[in-house]
């Protein structure tokens, strides 16, 4: 009897995992069935249009790439610098502890709140307007906690002996970090950055809040351009009543998921290379 309950429990727990798996499968099949036939070169290279069959994703794809590259350029130096401070300099100080608690709390702040911060700070107070730059600044703040966390993990994998050898040769602390620790940790840092950017590229709410436009018939050509991004274009199409636009939304989702998949594959590739290096 005791063991029958045990078996029943195990079956129930496995059923839970099966439900999660089936949901993921249903999601992918549903989106494929709705949108795969809309995917074409024409869809990737056309601009937004009022006629669903002419509409494409080019402007949104370009907007997403602009925003995400700029986000990475902002988040990488800031995130790495913060992580170096917390991991190598301020390890025991109260200030560092306070900053740490702060970062872990920031990581759990809803993304839409970052949008309100971006609207108040970047768009209005700093007068960036509804530009690519304002969007990237907002997303960089959003991505920072994750970049910091993954950078710290990468820094921790560098063996202590490397640092000690460097000190023994007369290097200063910064020389040790710059010439020894960072190069060794770099692939790990890059992996973390790509993963956090792959989260940021799917973010919709903060960019809607800062006022990224939902209908924009051109691609950005500078950091001051108004812009839209893939998830916002998808949201815009889902919100329209015509069925044909919903098919466009599904096709847009496939493009977005493809982009995510490519970024994650790059991260996994980097991680694997890194691990092989570490072992030899």
């Amino acid at each position: 009897m005791k063991h029958r309950a045990d078996l029943a429990f195990r079956v129930l727990a496995m059923a839970t995992l099966v439900v999660a798996l089936v949901t993921l499968g249903a999601l992918i099949i549903d989106v494929m069935a709705d949108g795969a036939h809309r995917l074409s070169w024409q869809f990737l290279t056309s601009l937004a249009s009022r006629r669903p069959e002419d509409a494409g994703i080019y402007h949104a794809l370009a907007g997403s790439i602009w925003v995400i590259v700029l986000t990475g350029l902002l988040a990488l130096p800031l995130g790495v610098a913060s992580a170096i401070y917390l991991e190598e300099y301020g390890t025991a100080s109260r200030l560092a502890r306070f900053i740490e608690i702060n970062i872990s709390n920031l990581a759990a702040v809803p993304s839409i709140i970052y949008g309100l911060l971006g609207l108040g700070l970047f768009v209005r107070t700093m007068n960036m307007g509804r530009s690519v730059l304002a969007g990237a600044c907002t997303l960089a703040l959003l991505a920072l906690p994750v970049v910091i966390l993954s950078t710290r993990e990468a820094l921790r994998t560098v063996p202590k002996s490397i640092r000690e050898a460097s000190y023994a040769l007369g290097a200063t602390k910064w020389q040790t970090i710059w010439y020894q620790v960072l190069p060794m940790a770099f692939p790990g840092i890059l992996t973390g950055l790509i993963l956090s950017l792959s989260r940021a590229i799917g973010e919709t709410a903060p960019l809607i809040t800062i006022g990224a436009l939902t209908y924009i018939p051109f691609a950005p050509d500078s950091v001051w351009s108004p812009f839209t991004v893939l998830p916002i274009q998808i949201f815009n199409w889902v919100s329209r009543p015509q069925a044909a636009f919903k098919e466009n939304a599904a096709a847009g989702i496939l493009v977005l998921m493809g982009l995510l998949l490519a970024m994650n594959a790059a991260a996994v590739f980097l991680r694997d290379r890194f691990q092989r290096q570490g072992r030899s």
Binding site: H3, F9, A13, M14, T16, L17, V19, A20, L21, L24, A26, D30, V31, D34, A81, S82, Y85, Y89, G90, L95, I99, I101, N102, S104, N105, L106, A108, V109, P110, S111, I112, I113, Y114, G115, L116, L117, L119, G120, L121, L141, L144, P145, K173, W174, R199, I201, G202, E203, T204, A205, I208, T209, G211, P231, V238, S239, K246, I253, M257, L260
Partner: protein, 293 residues
């Protein structure tokens, strides 16, 4: 420059970067507070917090935030009914039962579930789950709380299971071995020894999950509707706090108007709710870490 002064300068610059996070928190609070205070000059805080009608965009304006709060709590509640039991079961299975092969297969799937953009879940809720549920509940409206709630629960499940699993794995194996030695089955050990021992860690995971659900935006903006409504009926359209912020942001509301300020006031309330939950969660996790170290 002298090497020593250069070193000092570097350390200062690094500290400045790290301090940016503190400025971010301060910035959030400041931006929200400034507009909220302006808002509260025109609308009394009593009306805002206890009013039962939310119609700031209509001619006859009312600023009672309760319908938005109720909508948020209803959808989050449904999400928790899905995410908490399923997440905990998955965690118990992964931590106490699953052979390594199964874990290696399941964990990436859970990671993918957690990494799907929320706008995609919104599409899935509106275009797949709602029509499916309408077959079971024909009275259900096209926009409702049930479908986004369930989908949100699935989205949050990986968070609950991975944090709970971490908590359970941190329980010393001596406790498990003691239970086995007394003749307990695996299930008895898992449910009566490991889960209670990991209780504060699991609670921390649950609270963080609630915070995630309360702040989740796109699923509800797409699939729950835009009608503030004080109701516990999961079949009718309603609006959450986050969906309201999106709705106003999509329109072209001029800066400085009362409508514009409402999104900051609602944002402030949302921030305080999630921040409070996060603090409790952090505190519980810290306490748990102390217990077994």
């Amino acid at each position: 420059m002298q090497p020593r002064r250069f070193e000092r300068l570097i350390e200062f610059l690094l500290l400045a970067a790290a301090a940016l996070s503190v400025f971010t928190t301060a910035g959030i609070i400041l931006v929200l507070a400034v507009e909220t205070i302006e808002f509260l000059r025109e609308v009394s805080i009593v009306e805002f917090l206890t009013g039962t009608e939310w119609t700031p965009l209509f001619a006859n304006r009312h600023f009672g935030v309760l319908p938005l709060v109720a909508g948020t709590l209803l959808v989050s509640g449904i999400a928790m009914l899905v995410a908490l039991p399923m997440g905990l079961l998955a965690a118990v299975y992964l931590s106490e039962y699953a052979p390594d092969g199964v874990r290696r297969l399941v964990k990436p799937v859970l990671e993918v579930l957690a990494g799907v953009p929320t706008v995609v879940y919104g599409y899935f809720a509106l275009m797949f789950v709602t029509p499916l549920l309408q077959r079971v509940f024909p009275q259900m409206s096209g926009f409702n709380a049930l479908s986004p709630g369930i989908v949100m629960g699935i989205m949050i499940l990986p968070l609950v299971s991975s944090l709970s699993e971490d908590a359970m794995r941190a329980v010393p194996s001596g406790l498990r071995e003691g239970a086995y030695a007394l003749g307990a089955t695996r299930m008895q050990t898992a449910l009566q020894v490991v889960v209670p021992a990991a209780f504060s860690g699991i609670t921390a995971a649950f609270i963080l999950a609630v915070s995630r659900a309360v702040g989740e935006t796109m699923i509800v903006a797409i699939a729950a509707g835009q009608q503030p409504r004080l109701t516990a009926n999961p079949f009718v359209p309603l609006e959450t706090m986050t969906a309201y912020i999106v709705q106003v942001s999509l329109g072209d509301t001029p800066q400085g108007t009362l409508e514009y300020r409402t999104i900051f006031a609602v944002g402030m309330l949302l921030f305080l709710m999630t921040f409070g939950l996060n603090l409790v969660s952090t505190w519980l996790r810290e306490r748990f870490r102390e217990e077994y170290s």
